[in-house]
């Protein structure tokens, strides 16, 4: 009996061992050391040490293909070349010929102005010689009515997804591949719309490029049967071309475009912040030279990436941010027409204060999935701007070291 009482007592006592010490405080009596105060400070990049560099991602390597009918003041056209289609198919160690029943092209619509109806996609036959050196001027003569093989009416309800067009019967003539082209087919893509707009199509770099389907009947005489076959051809090369663009002003900070541009900004944190402050917010404030261009309903995503070693244009950047390295790089969504950009970058600034500090610099770029694949082309004032109010700045909110020694 006594043992049971003791066991019960021990059990009850253990229940009471939970600790709960949190209580409301009435300051200053119950707030030793006082309370933290938030300080604000605006820091400018090092004057003259911010620059833009161009040529990071080429259009042929972009995650999407741009097509527009004048968005931003110029037309953009996509070009693609499909893999070689063989004339024969090997069945039982014998090369067999086949008869084409129909062909189809598949495209992947990534983004469009979803408020704009009446979008049409125009497919043109292009010379198979297109490659990464092909210019807008070189292919422009091929974008003529004679080479137009199909106009696709894009349903207004289709926001994004697959677009497919089929050629059969007499329509096959427009997609016949002459023997001189050795089974290779190249296409050019334009768009038509009641208003100026653009679309983004999937690309081979992103695994969402166009597909060329051939549906054929295979004659195999020794079996007395006809086999249906489908040939699916991907695009080993695709890109987009634009008319020559003016060279960006080197006194401005340019991000995006094709090939893509990035902007490098260098800062020097004051010692009282670097040594003992706890930064709770850091906002990179940028002023565009003009309202940011772009495709409506398809905002761009601007990232600030931590520079791990300051080597100028070739500075390696980190794919993560934060002291622990577990956070994505700070990013902000830029709508077309934006006149200011405020990018919350505290996780990036944290990396400047780690025990193994990195350069107090950041690389401004588009997110990888839209770099060289966005209609947005923001141009910001740099530290060289005559008006200090439009220069880039880092607005930091921080706490000073808490005075723990005050009992």
């Amino acid at each position: 009996m006594r043992r049971r009482y003791y066991a019960l007592l021990a059990g009850l006592a253990s229940l009471g061992c939970q600790e709960k010490l949190t209580a409301p405080a009435d300051c200053p009596a119950l707030c030793p050391g006082g309370s933290s105060e938030v300080f604000d400070e605006v820091i400018s990049p090092i004057i003259g040490a911010d620059s833009s560099f161009r040529g990071y991602v080429q259009p042929a390597s972009a995650a999407a293909l741009l097509v527009s009918n004048g968005l931003g003041g110029f037309e953009t056209r996509a070009i693609m070349r499909f893999s070689r289609r063989s004339d024969t198919v090997t069945v039982r160690d014998t090369a067999r010929t086949y008869t084409i029943d129909s062909v189809a092209f598949g495209l992947n619509l990534v983004a469009r102005d979803t408020t704009l109806p009446g979008l049409k996609i125009l497919l043109y036959r292009l010379p198979i010689s297109i490659d990464t050196t092909t210019t807008y001027a070189a292919v422009d003569p091929a974008f003529v009515p004679g080479n137009l093989i199909r106009t696709i009416d894009v349903p207004d309800t289709l926001k994004r997804g697959a677009i497919r067009t089929v050629f059969s019967g007499a329509g096959l003539d427009s997609v016949l591949i002459p023997p001189a082209d050795t089974g290779v087919l190249a296409l050019g893509i334009r768009i038509d719309s009641p208003d100026t707009t653009g679309i983004r199509l999937g690309s081979s770099a992103n695994g969402t490029g166009g597909v060329f389907f051939t549906y054929a009947t295979l004659n195999v005489p020794d079996t007395g049967t006809a086999k249906l076959r489908t040939f699916s051809l991907a695009v080993p090369f695709n890109s987009f071309v634009t008319p020559p663009q003016p060279v960006p002003d080197t006194t401005l900070l340019v991000v995006g475009g094709e090939p893509s541009s990035r902007a490098l900004l260098r800062f020097e944190l004051p010692p009282h912040i670097r040594d003992s402050a706890t930064i709770v917010r850091a906002t990179l404030e940028l002023t565009p030279v003009a309202p940011i261009s772009g495709l409506r309903t398809d905002p761009a995503r601007l990232q600030a990436r931590a520079v791990t070693a300051d080597l100028g244009a070739k500075s390696p950047v980190s794919a993560t941010a934060g002291r622990s390295g577990l956070f994505p790089p700070p990013a902000d969504t830029i709508e077309a027409g934006a006149t200011t950009v405020n990018l919350e970058a505290v996780r990036l600034v944290e990396t400047w204060l780690t025990p193994t500090p990195r350069p107090s610099a950041l690389m401004l770029a588009f997110a990888p999935d839209i770099e060289a694949a966005s209609f947005s082309r923001p141009v910001f004032y740099s530290t060289r701007a005559a008006d200090p109010a439009v220069r880039p700045r880092l607005h930091i909110s921080y706490l000073r070291a808490f005075p723990f020694e005050n009992p």
Binding site: C17, T22, E405
Partner: protein
């Protein structure tokens, strides 16, 4: 066995408050410990200067009959009130551990480890700040864990069974692990956490005497000096704080074989720390005094350790004011009992203490349940 339901009741009693931790331990060096064993705590410390299982008076070690180890655990439930609100909090602490034993019948030595001050708390405030021109809600929490501990090496010597003299050497050491945290209602602001550790180190000396006038009346006296503690913030010296002199006097009277009365008063000169604490930005310190009176009733005088009933009351002032110029105080009543078993080689003592603490608009009710386990191998 009759007391078993009482033991369970003591363990079950929830709700109210009290303990080593307190909102009155937020400032200064924290809430002062009392160095009492559970046997003495049952009568509010009225017999503390005579109690060999407490770490107050080194002369009390002379009463240790055999090698004895004591372990005390205290569960506290508190209900602090202040203008910011109220809360129900609780914690468990181990305020005393001691080992003592006799040497050649006339002397005794012991070592004890007890709580000198406790600074365990977490306080939370809410506010709205104007940040970048926008009102943003913030929640600040400040927490401390730790305190000062008193490691005592002591000895006692008896002369003709009437006098017992004792002396002790104290190592006072400990640390506060502090954390300040701020959380913003606007997710654009990161929460911030700042941590620090304050460590303390000092030494002290104590001397005590007990004079027994016959078997029914005794007087105990104590004097102690603790010098000062050096204060290091994250391993860098930031100053020192003077610790108090302690003077204690206790009387014990046994008017009948079953009844024992005790009264005790202790004065500590905490005002010596006043200038040091003010210099460090604190609210200073004030001298304290404590007076306790208690009674122990034993149903069987031949076996005084068999379920005695202990009652007591005490009043004390607190050393570290929350508001400059004021001084807090506490009033407590207590109830206790105990038992020995295994041929008196082991024992359990229990005490239940209810305390009222206040200083101006700040108040606190505390409920302490202490269990002491003693072993005599």
């Amino acid at each position: 066995m009759r007391f078993a339901p009482l033991l369970i009741l003591l363990a079950l009693l929830p709700g109210v408050s009290g303990a080593q931790s307190s909102q009155f331990g937020v400032r200064g060096l924290g809430f002062p410990g009392r160095g009492l064993g559970v046997r003495a705590a049952g009568s509010s410390g009225a017999f503390g200067l005579f109690d060999a299982e407490s770490s107050l008076n080194p002369a009390a070690l002379g009463a240790v009959p055999t090698l004895t180890s004591v372990f005390v655990v205290t569960q506290s439930f508190r209900h602090p009130e202040n203008p910011a609100g109220t809360a129900s909090v609780r914690d468990t602490r181990f305020p005393l551990l001691s080992v003592a034993g006799p040497v050649r019948l006339v002397a005794a030595f012991g070592i004890s480890f007890s709580n000198y001050t406790s600074r365990d708390f977490t306080v939370v405030t809410e506010d709205t700040l104007d940040l970048r021109g926008v009102p943003v809600g913030v929640i600040d929490s400040f927490s401390s864990r730790g305190g000062l501990n008193d490691l005592r090496l002591a000895g006692a010597y008896r002369v003709h069974d009437h006098w017992t003299f004792g002396g002790g050497f104290h190592v006072i050491t400990g640390s506060n692990r502090l954390q300040s945290r701020r959380v913003f209602s606007d997710p654009s602001f990161l929460s911030s956490t700042q941590k620090s550790e304050i460590s303390y180190a000092g030494v002290g000396l104590s001397a005590g005497v007990i004079r027994q006038f016959g078997s029914r009346f005794g007087i105990a006296a104590l004097v102690r000096t603790d010098g000062h503690v050096n204060v290091d913030l994250d391993s860098a010296r930031v100053g020192s704080v003077d610790l108090p002199y302690t003077f204690g006097l206790g009387l014990r009277l046994q008017p009948a074989g079953q009844l024992e009365l005790g009264v005790q008063t202790i004065v500590r000169t905490w005002s010596g720390a006043n200038s040091d604490l003010l210099q460090q930005g604190g609210t200073g310190a004030k001298n304290t005094f404590e007076v306790a009176a208690g009674v122990q009733y034993t149903s069987d005088p031949k076996r005084p350790y068999r379920r005695p009933l202990r009652l007591g009351a005490r009043y004390a002032t607190l050393p570290f004011p929350l508001v400059l110029g004021e001084q807090g105080h506490e009033l407590g009543v207590s109830l206790g009992t105990g038992m020995r078993f295994a041929q008196q080689r082991a024992g359990i003592d229990l005490s239940l203490e209810y305390l009222w603490r206040s200083e101006g608009v700040y108040s606190e009710r505390a409920f302490l349940v202490s269990v002491g386990v003693s072993v005599r191998p």
